[in-house]
Amino acid sequence: MKQFEGLCWSSFNPGTFVQLLNNDEEAPVVHAEAGEYGQWFNLSAEGRDPKKQVRDFLIVWTMPEHISPSFARLLRFEPVSQDALRREVDDFSQMVLKMSGRAPLLLLPLWVVPTWHRGLGALDMAVEGGVGRSLLEMNARLCANLRGANGIYPLNTSKWIECAGKRAFQPKLWHMTRNPFGNDVYLEALRDIKAALAGSAGKSKKLIVVDLDETLWGGLVGEVGWQGLRLGGHDYVGEALQDFQRALKGLKNRGLLLAVASKNDESVALAAIQRHPEMILKLEDFVAWRINWKDKADNIIELVKELNLGMDAVVFIDDSEHERQWVRHALPEVYVPDWPTDKTLYASHLLSLRCFDSLQVSAEDAARTKMYQEETSRSQARSEDASMEEWLAASDLQVTVRRLEEVDLPRVAQLINKTNQMNLTTRRLSELELKRWCENTGAAVWSIRVSDRFGDSGLSGVLSAVIDTDAEDAVRIVDYVLSCRVIGRKIEDVMLHLAVEWARSLHKANVLATYVPSDRNGVCRNFWMNSGCAWQKENSTFVWPVDQTHFLPQYIQVRGDLPDGQGETSHQRAEGVRAHGA
């Protein structure tokens, strides 16, 4: 994973935090600089900051009494106007919005007050001038003001304070070094920040492979039968295991895929999943399973292959230390968390993992399991058909092409950042960077939606292209990204066709696509090698001459914003293009 570079600006001395962040050995590696504390506001003043742009992230960490003079007075129990408090929060929000342009990500720990400050005691949350109540309202207002801003993420500082307990605030440190927090707060903060950075680079986990016996349920199903399993009922362990299943189901709702790797007889284990009345997880919650007596590492390899994922997208959960150690050894890219022996801790342990953190959530995430199950149906149907062409023709494949709109930006950025295989350059960039890049280069960006008779795969592809700055008679493809779920359905050809037609509409002579190899995008190279493009080995570039028509596959219906402005299109258009080229 790449090293992240950033800057930490704060209203207190951030030296300790920055040192901890920079020297923490867990991935990803981070290098942050500490801004001159108390001078953070200079960042918002145009032209006063020597460091105009920060490469990856900016952390803006302030204490409320340093930002809001009214709140400082409130802490001294002086009368304060609520309007003034709100105005000061709004002013700060404006500064943050202005500062956010300086980095792709702006991380903003929310305001806290020292735990020893009891405010007005029992009255504190009840009356308008309460410290806790005012702070709650200020944080809510700040979040509301920043809602929808690209690349700004308010962080829950209170959680770090709770984790640090009594050591969270250290008055002596404050008086000696102008640092209010104990290291335990910073250690929690840096773990969350690193998880956010990893998520921004598409490194959040996508698949949870879980064991069955003593993990999803208590007991060995092969020994006691599904009727004898410990699950639910008036039993604290059984109820804890149900909670664990609920937690897994919750992650599935967030877009994680669930799979099973278990050493059992398949029919016996599946009967337990299907027939045990206390099971929270149903068979349809799992996207795949390997229930057999084979090596679990081999089973995970098969699952990953079936689901077309990378090994580094996998988390493996098993109660057996032996199995965990073996999978760690055999598959070092798979994340195998330590696992508690106490089953009542399973759910909390799962929900405390940071490896699922992502900075983007899309409608496609929630429907991911269904989409993979549809893909399984496709694979089964495909195996029964005579040929790929016939199968595709019978699948009623529809592609909707749309020029990039604000509403699609999160999913488009997510695809660019998470897709490893069908990705021409594997460049990564945040929503804000993508937006800025479009504005600065005049790039054309299309989102590609795919559906067929088996289901809707949603926004599954991104194509972006610019007029080439070196060869002005050419259009250059920059992003050529397709979700692994729809690879091989000729959507690749639709995207190339789109680029060729855009170049034609601009009267350009060639379409160029420079392939940047990674350890995962060989499939993309294979497509381009077989695409009919000329291959310039010396600069790793594929060339399609626009005077040569690129045919759309006849059986794909393409609709939407097409380059020549004709709008809606379908079979007829495909036929027309074919006829034109023939």
Binding site: N13, T16, Q19, R167
Partner: protein, 99 residues
């Protein structure tokens, strides 16, 4: 001071804490002869280290000492290594437990 108080353990705990802030090449070693001076730790790190030791002594042994007072305005401290810090603590601390 109660001789049973494990001052060395508190110092080594403080070393664990401060090492999290330091690059690998600059980390302190847990050894009585390990140097502790302004040359090894900048003033921020020195204060963080000494306050971590101070907190451990208080929490683990009810031993009160103001190690912050040992740091001069220029960041200098009156000990050069772990052994000298142990001696400094033994001379300047008081136990809040009735002996």
């Amino acid at each position: 001071m109660n001789e049973k108080v494990d001052v060395v353990a508190a110092i080594y705990g403080g070393i664990d804490d401060i090492n999290k802030q330091l690059p690998a090449a600059k980390r302190l070693t847990k050894d009585p002869a390990a140097p502790i001076s302004a040359a090894d730790l900048d003033s921020l790190n020195m204060i963080n280290f000494l306050l971590a030791v101070e907190e451990r002594l208080q929490l683990d042994s009810n031993l009160e000492i103001d190690l912050g007072a040992a740091v001069s305005s220029s960041g200098e401290v009156p000990f050069k290594n772990v052994a000298e810090l142990v001696a400094y603590i033994r001379q300047n601390s008081k136990s809040s437990d009735p002996l």
